[in-house]
Subunit: 301 residues, 2 copies
Amino acid sequence: MIAVDWGTSSLRAYRIDADGAIRAQRRSEDGVLASRGRFAEVLSSALAEWDDEVVLLSGMVGGRSGWNEVPYLECPAGIDALAAALQPFAPPRFDTRRMLIVPGLRASHASGVADVMRGEETQIAGLLDELGDGTHLVCLPGTHSKWVTVCDGRIADLATAMTGELFALLRKHSILAQSMSGPDDHLDTAAFDAGFERSADRGGLLHHLFGVRTHALFGRHPDAALPSYLSGLLIGHELRGIEALSRNDRPARVELIGNDALLLRYTRALGLLGIASRGHHEQLAAVGMHRLAERAGIARA
Amino acid sequence: MIAVDWGTSSLRAYRIDADGAIRAQRRSEDGVLASRGRFAEVLSSALAEWDDEVVLLSGMVGGRSGWNEVPYLECPAGIDALAAALQPFAPPRFDTRRMLIVPGLRASHASGVADVMRGEETQIAGLLDELGDGTHLVCLPGTHSKWVTVCDGRIADLATAMTGELFALLRKHSILAQSMSGPDDHLDTAAFDAGFERSADRGGLLHHLFGVRTHALFGRHPDAALPSYLSGLLIGHELRGIEALSRNDRPARVELIGNDALLLRYTRALGLLGIASRGHHEQLAAVGMHRLAERAGIARA
């Protein structure tokens, strides 16, 4: 089968054998935004020469501004519910395939403000077997970080923090941009830790952000270290907002799913709070989609 | 005399008579950023046909990337200290004038993170006589909101929140931009209040921001009301971060200095916290610079 993780800004396609092993993968920058008006063409190219019948699609491709909107599934939901909600999709040019779209998940909260994810549920689906019963906290850091509570094999709740998007906005477009030199991929751990500790102070994020500017004015950190300071500050505010991390019965460990640069930062930040973590790679999406197809009885097993 | 309030993105010049009354004013978009490399030319044009000898300049024109850097004056500082620290400046082409630059102010905090302002001190200088003795809290909302504590006629402390800049970044460049239609200058009070109340919930700003997106997805507020929701959310976080507003001995009233649109929002937000406020116009900058020149003995009085 083929699993396609088609998000806002990129597309990843995996060719998976009957055992669930990834035999090949492709990646392109033709995310949903760049693919509007030519979804079929982009997908054809992503699948070229892969003749497998079953194709699962996940991510913003099933969102309101995607190719074919699929309603959110309500939490709690496990593998069974997700597999049952896979939505068949038969666009022209794909009549030799059996295509299905994975629904996103919605959590309704007492505050009246719902939360959603679309795409990340497949990565968690790839982890559910390994986690087993009990309550687990999973974090998928990124542009929109997702904090997901898993209870007894089902996705019970989720919360989003716009940490990565805010970092990028401030880094590129704000007054702080002119104070920050150097590449973002270098982590200055002293500055990161100082930013993280600052997030525990009174004053709130809107005030703390201005400290990046005064640090630049008065040379408290080298300009090249300020992106790390900002990163630590934002991740600190993110973590301190997660209710599950501040409870007395907080989890002993957080499961982190993300790329190496993010795993490094979040592992460090959780460590500063005395919380252990375990890193997992984003290829879990392929594992999860294979599990969903198996459960739906459409993958050769 | 002439008072020039020369900030990052605009220039305002006031011609002031011996009584301190404003006789004429001019405004241009030639802020400090747009004037680099041609400061003298921009100022000549702003002063054209005004032959007064004394010219006070304030704002980012005295900053590191301005025309002539003037060191920050340390808080606490009152009219006397500011008047004594006016820095003479004699660039070519202005030898018939007596030009001085008002220093910005710096507050050092136990956290090790300093705070600064440059330009706003002249507006507060224009208010000090009216405030008299005792402790007063002054807020200058805007791109970078300044919260200033005045004790017995001196500026004792200050804190900055990047509220307005973050609003503009999110409004223009973020994923939330596509969810928000309508002009920013229309205030939808129900949405503003809902955003403000949301800021009191657990979860933190980075999480609350994503709620703007889910509100758009699920139609909780009309898209045209979402800028007001975002404004209420950000101002709510700003206010809840101000230590002086959360203390038991919080001030009975906040003095607000700003334009009409900002006064409307901040008066409303403070009212939701049960705090009274009084609005003042930004022309206080001219009043303040006249007071400084008088005290320095350089204005005809």
